[in-house]
């Protein structure tokens, strides 16, 4: 009896103090299992690949087919890389939904309560989720962007239009900008869903509102301080500054350096707010 008690107290004492490393590894492992067993994790990336590459190739082949009908002004203003990468405006929505669904699926099933019971270190749970989702989003975006550019530029080259190759100056860096922007949108969707306490309807609507409706609303604003000092730092416009080689120089466009810093700031601020909200609220 005494022997069993001693063993019990010994084993429970052993359980109360797992090292930080082991705890983090366990959290990452459990988050990874949840992530890869999610059906949206299969459906959304597949949809994103088909829609994004399809759209990029459609646009490029459409330009190639209509090239001789375009007037001189449009021919002169044609930027092969920017025309090709324009699909990111649409593609980002899939990544945003992916990030949001990672959270809302867990809330919707009530699994979040088990998760937080197993790992009461809520900050760690969120960090593991964010890192793994970020890695998946980065990989998916990289596959999409590189394939879309390679096939799109091949289509342009086939039609004897101006085109670029990966080695040309600025191409790789703006391609990386597109990948990073899509990854950032996935993280914004994830943190936004945590802030909205896992409501699927609110999170999905929020992703669409930020990516598609805010630009429509702000396009109606006249050129004053709102447009000069606030609108360029909305996620959509930061994205444009990151992945377009010619984003324009008027109001509404931030410089590349400022865009990188502002995108990182969005993720950091939303991430901290999400962590605080997750710690402060009942799940």
């Amino acid at each position: 009896m005494a022997h069993t008690m001693a063993a019990l107290s010994k084993s429970s004492a052993g359980h109360t103090r797992p090292t930080g490393y082991r705890r983090a590894r366990a959290a990452f492992a459990s988050e990874w299992i949840k992530l890869r067993s999610l059906r949206s994790m299969l459906v959304l990336p597949l949809l994103a690949v088909v829609v994004c590459i399809g759209l990029a190739d459609l646009v490029c082949s459409n330009y190639a087919a209509n090239w001789k009908h375009l007037d001189a002004v449009r021919k002169a203003s044609f930027v092969p890389f920017d025309t090709n990468i324009g699909f990111v405006v649409i593609g980002a929505i899939f990544l945003g939904m992916l990030g949001a669904l990672v959270v809302t699926n867990e809330y919707g099933r009530g699994l979040i309560r088990t998760t937080l019971m197993a790992t009461p270190q809520r900050g760690l749970v969120l960090a593991a989720k964010a890192v793994l989702t970020g890695l998946v989003a980065f990989t998916v975006s990289a596959v999409i962007c590189f394939t879309a550019i390679l096939t799109g530029q091949a289509l342009l080259a086939g039609g004897h239009l101006p085109h670029v190759s990966l080695g040309d100056p600025g191409v790789l860096s703006h391609l990386l900008g597109a990948v990073c922007y899509m990854t950032a949108v996935a993280l914004i969707g994830l943190f936004g869903a945590v802030l909205l306490r896992g409501s699927a309807a609110a999170a999905i609507s929020g992703v669409f509102a930020v990516l598609f409706v805010l630009p429509v609303l702000t396009s109606g604003l006249p050129d004053d301080f709102l447009k000069r000092d606030l609108v360029p730092y909305l996620p959509v416009n930061l994205g444009g500054a990151l992945y377009f080689t010619h984003p324009g120089h008027g109001p509404g466009v931030a410089g590349t350096g400022a865009a990188v810093v502002a995108t990182a700031a969005w993720i950091l601020v939303l991430g901290v707010a999400a962590a605080l909200s997750l710690r402060g609220h009942d799940a």
Partner: protein
């Protein structure tokens, strides 16, 4: 025998009282779900705030506007521009009116109580359409008057009696009702909240952006007949850019999308397990 006696008169329930019962139960479900009143209040805030923000900004920036921008300035469409955001909330409300019932399992109770599924869906759509239409139409008048009072001279503004203006103000409410109904019927077709929301928003907000990337005429010609762009003509005073559809033609195109979705929804709701 007594059990049979209890069931016999049930068959003779008049259509009238059956419809009234369904109407009542759909109304209770609509008003008791928290997202209903909340979404309607948010819509009101967006419409009024949008009219205030965009019109006061346009008034302030009028002097700096180019002659071209002044010529194409649409005082009614600028006032109602916030519909672009409000439609997400009304559309989401339409989607959740249906998908919320599916995800909570209440739909099985509903169909048990009223096996006439067509009647359930028709009453659901009717309750939704009446509430949303009344609310949004009642909103668009204060939004319009607020906006026009902010657009003082020299900025271009219109009165409610000017040609086409009253139609456009009513068009705002009708447009939002149609988008909400489209969401409701898509909700019946898809039955899951995230997927139905994505389908609705994709159709209304994303497809126009995708078509705008194409250089050929097909892009703009097809774009004109997408639900959001076509229906949006209802609350524009000037036909925007390449668009040639008028108020009622545009709204008619949107109504055709709603009718197609409704047809599919009525056909499927009878055939599928709840």
């Amino acid at each position: 025998m007594s059990a049979q006696a209890g069931t016999v008169p049930r068959r003779n329930i008049s259509l009238d009282s059956r419809l009234r019962a369904t109407w009542l139960s759909e109304w209770i479900k609509f008003r008791s779900v928290r997202s209903g009143p909340l979404n309607l209040l948010v819509t009101a805030a967006i419409m009024l705030f949008g009219a205030w923000l965009l019109d006061s900004q346009s008034r302030g920036g009028w002097a700096a506007m180019s002659p071209n921008a002044r010529a194409t300035f649409d005082p009614v469409a600028t006032t109602f521009q916030a519909i672009a955001l409000a439609q997400l909330f009304i559309g989401a409300l339409g989607v959740m009116t249906v998908t919320g019932e599916y995800s909570s399992g209440l739909i099985r109770g509903t169909f048990l109580a009223t096996p006439q599924r067509i009647q359930v869906l028709a009453m659901k759509a009717l309750v939704f359409a009446l509430v949303v239409w009344a609310w949004c139409t009642a909103l668009s008048f204060p939004a319009f008057f607020l906006g026009q009072s902010l657009l003082s001279s020299p900025a271009e503004h219109v009165g409610i009696g000017d040609p086409g203006v009253l139609t456009a103000v009513f068009g705002a409410g009708l447009y939002l009702t149609c988008i909400g109904l489209l969401g409701l019927f898509i909700g019946v077709l898809v039955r899951r909240t995230p997927a139905a929301l994505a389908a609705l928003f994709g159709l209304v907000a994303v497809l126009p952006a995708a078509l705008a990337l194409l250089p050929s005429k097909i892009g703009s010609q097809l774009g004109e007949y997408l639900p959001g762009n076509a229906g949006g003509q209802a609350w524009h005073l000037l036909p925007g850019g390449a668009y040639t559809l008028g108020h009622w033609e545009g709204l008619g195109v949107l109504a055709a999308y709603v009718a197609a979705a409704a047809l599919a929804a009525f056909a499927l709701i009878k055939r599928r397990d709840a």
